[in-house]
Symmetry: C2
Subunit: 470 residues, 2 copies
């Protein structure tokens, strides 16, 4: 069958208006915001129901066509962008955007893959519940993509990754078969838990079309402190103490270096130093509670008072209003973008065991400074999750292009150290196309082989997202 | 190769003292406490290291031998008992019982499969941490078996099932290959999350030899109330209110019927009615907090006061001491055993969506009473997890044998209703041999096929636990 014949067949299956072939119509599906990839595709398909997704995949699989599922197109590793070869068809889930069921009593919600994360958060909020997944891209990313990539975000410490929020899935397999795994059960031990293969599978094993998700009580009280410390060791000890005392009430624990704060003070509109004097490291600590009855502020002050006595904390500022709490978070959220104003930045999205963070930072900082004298490491992120955004800004006055040209060399150096700490070279963003080759360096041949066995068992014709992950 | 030759070979691999062939030595591995199964085996193998487990499986897989992994032998569905055919070899993990690492700062612990659950709980307690998994059999069950069956227990409401407590696994595959998936990472998006296939895989996909597990802050304050209510509807609404206000502090929410309490008062030594008058239904509600700062008792009283105003609660007793709290739990924990004193009891381990519990109970109770006039349903359990132990005692004075003879008939009736509520016929205990045929009735052919594809991909020679699950 010729390409045109396939387009005509897809038009019969999902309607001509939902088969995009004009360059201008396809364009938004082919670029991603970091401009790492520029995709080429014969057509973008926009089915509106699970039956249409099934029909599309059945035809594609039977005819050797390659399908790239796409949600909100916010992925950072190229998984959702068709290859430059131009033979991969984009399958957009955007039109599967219904909220199928909301159950506040049972603390669950069932939504289709194309529902935008922010919409999902609002649906939960409307019934006095919380859907905790929160990301920078929440205004445009879709829940199907979040689940396919096991998205992390800022609420992982208290609520877990996307994976931990899923009770059940509806998935269309490569050959068009529909698996109805939409269960709202908290306990179910009836065979292998298949949903965990599709969550984080990056669209290579099946296309998630709907999910039943956990909801939580909506936080009623929130307290934030901006804390100055002498070292990552002190930050780690503070974390352990805080978690031991606050447990699930500890909903944020972010570490930042002094240089990151200085970048914000220089380049981030509205940013001001919450503390009087300078400190080598900072922690943004948040406690929040679903009940008014919890003395959150008292606990926060007790934890920090004790830490101050122990010499763990040099100084701390408490947010006295929601606005001030937002000012503190504004600094943390601005930490990535302000690096652009300081020239080239080489980035790493890594994780290590929480207790290894101080040792990892010491090793990695020394290594990159030895590799590029004068470079400025700005490691920051979710200490409580062991997840550090290890970004390194160029030396002052150095040539940006020449510095960025050493991206792979520095990645190899840092990832080597991550590997020694039994860490992860992709804590949040996944593998996609960007880290596919890296995966071969950090995973054992056996683990890669086990993944390939599952891929072959679920998608024998390699129809779904070929060349991603594996 | 003859059986004796295999025994000799295994003796070379793991030492003659660890190859049990005498009937008296094998006996403890061949019976399980409900006497549903009486196993037969040529030998019981007791390797002491992961390398020895690997060597055993390599030889078995290469020679067409069948292996039945066994932990503490506390399973309730026959998964760990060799078949009567007598050709399955028992692989005991009991000697892999080392605690490899305890990391209180990072809130993790790494243990081998043969570590007894109670030992694991004590190791955590010794560093002021909690390992929350708690079961009736915790004095003898082993963590490897708990993970292989995704054990549930009484702490699921706040901490999740066994699956949710795992960060990483070490697994020996059917052919002896060792997968080192022992990671202590809270975030890791580098490919398919293989550990979830082995957790709940009931030893059919690989043999778990070690695990890195999550630890939690140790609860410092605990409050329990014994509550009388008019209906499951009232209990559900109380649950939703309590969870919305207490969130993760709500660590227990168990429902019991009046007849269950009466059985306890008649047959359970030391049991007394915590409330003055009788009530149709009861809830045992527990709040616990890792911090002294939380006014747990105030919150419990506030929640119940409000519920009383709304007419949800008829009466409530608060435990004024640890001893009294234990008295309340004593009734809940005695609920199963006291049914024996009332004659035959037909049991179901089922779950439905939490919000469906009242409707499910109404349907199921009416159905069994219509099937066996005069029978006495005693449904109790973890309302907060949607998990009900739907046990039905025989009519007073009826013939026990004749009643028990209708076990399968009543199971079919109740499981049919569970299925209509999109529930689970095995919420906690798994499939093993006992529910293997039932699985075919409740799972779609596609889901069974997907499970079989994974089984074939991981264990092509069907060496591990043949005839269990699939």
């Amino acid at each position: 069958m010729a390409e045109l014949d396939h387009a005509a067949r897809f038009a019969e299956l999902i309607g001509a208006a939902n088969v995009l072939t004009a360059a201008s119509d396809k364009a938004p599906y082919l670029v991603e915001w970091r401009d790492l990839y520029q995709g080429v595709t014969p057509m973008v398909l926009r089915p509106g129901t699970v039956e249409e997704v099934s029909a599309v995949l059945k035809h594609a699989d039977a005819n050797g066509l390659k399908i790239v599922p796409q949600g909100g197109n916010t992925g950072l590793v190229g998984g959702q962008i068709p290859k430059e070869s131009g033979d991969e068809i984009v399958l957009s889930l955007a039109r599967l955007n219904r909220v199928r069921d909301v159950d506040p009593q049972g603390f669950t919600i069932t939504v289709e893959a194309g529902v935008v994360l922010e919409t999902l958060q609002r649906e939960a909020d409307a019934v006095d519940r919380l859907f905790p997944l929160a990301l920078g891209s929440q205004g445009s990313c879709q829940i199907g993509g979040n689940l396919s990539t096991n998205a992390g975000g800022t609420a992982v410490l208290a609520y877990g990754n996307s994976r931990d929020l899923v009770l059940g899935l509806e998935v269309v397999l490569a050959n068009g078969d529909v698996w109805n795994g939409l269960r709202a059960l908290r306990k179910d031990n009836t065979g292998y838990d298949l949903k965990h293969m599709f969550i984080g599978g990056e669209g290579t094993l099946g296309v998630i079309t709907a999910a039943t998700l956990k909801l939580f009580p909506k936080p009623k009280k929130l307290e934030v402190a901006f804390i100055g410390l002498s070292s990552p060791e002190a930050a780690l000890e503070l974390f352990s103490t805080a978690k031991a005392q606050a447990g699930p009430i500890l909903t944020g624990f972010e570490i930042m270096p002094r240089i990151g704060l200085e970048f914000c003070l220089r380049h981030l509109p509205g940013a001001r130093d919450p503390l009087a004097g300078p400190h080598p490291w900072y922690v943004l600590m948040e406690l929040s509670s679903g009940t008014e009855a919890f003395p959150v502020r008292d606990l926060l002050e007790a934890i920090l008072g004790e830490a101050y006595e122990k010499g763990l904390v040099e100084d701390a500022a408490f947010a006295e209003s929601m606005a001030q709490a937002q000012d503190f978070w504004h600094i943390r959220h601005g930490m990535s973008e302000v690096q652009r104003a300081e020239g080239g930045s080489i980035k790493h999205d890594v994780s290590v065991p929480v207790a290894s963070i101080p040792a990892f930072l010491a090793r990695a900082i020394a290594a990159v400074e030895a590799m590029v004298p004068g470079c400025r490491p700005v490691p920051f992120g979710h200490l409580g999750d062991g997840n550090i955004h290890f970004n390194v800004s160029q030396p002052v006055g150095a040539d940006k292009e020449a510095y960025i040209a050493r991206w792979d060399e520095m990645n190899a150096l840092v990832h080597g150290i991550v590997h020694e700490f039994n860490g992860s070279i992709s804590a949040e963003h996944g593998i996609g196309r960007l880290k596919r080759d890296l995966l071969r360096e950090v995973k054992s041949p056996l683990e890669l082989d086990l993944m390939q066995r599952i891929k072959s068992a679920f998608d024998p014709n390699n129809t779904l997202n070929p060349g991603r992950v594996l």
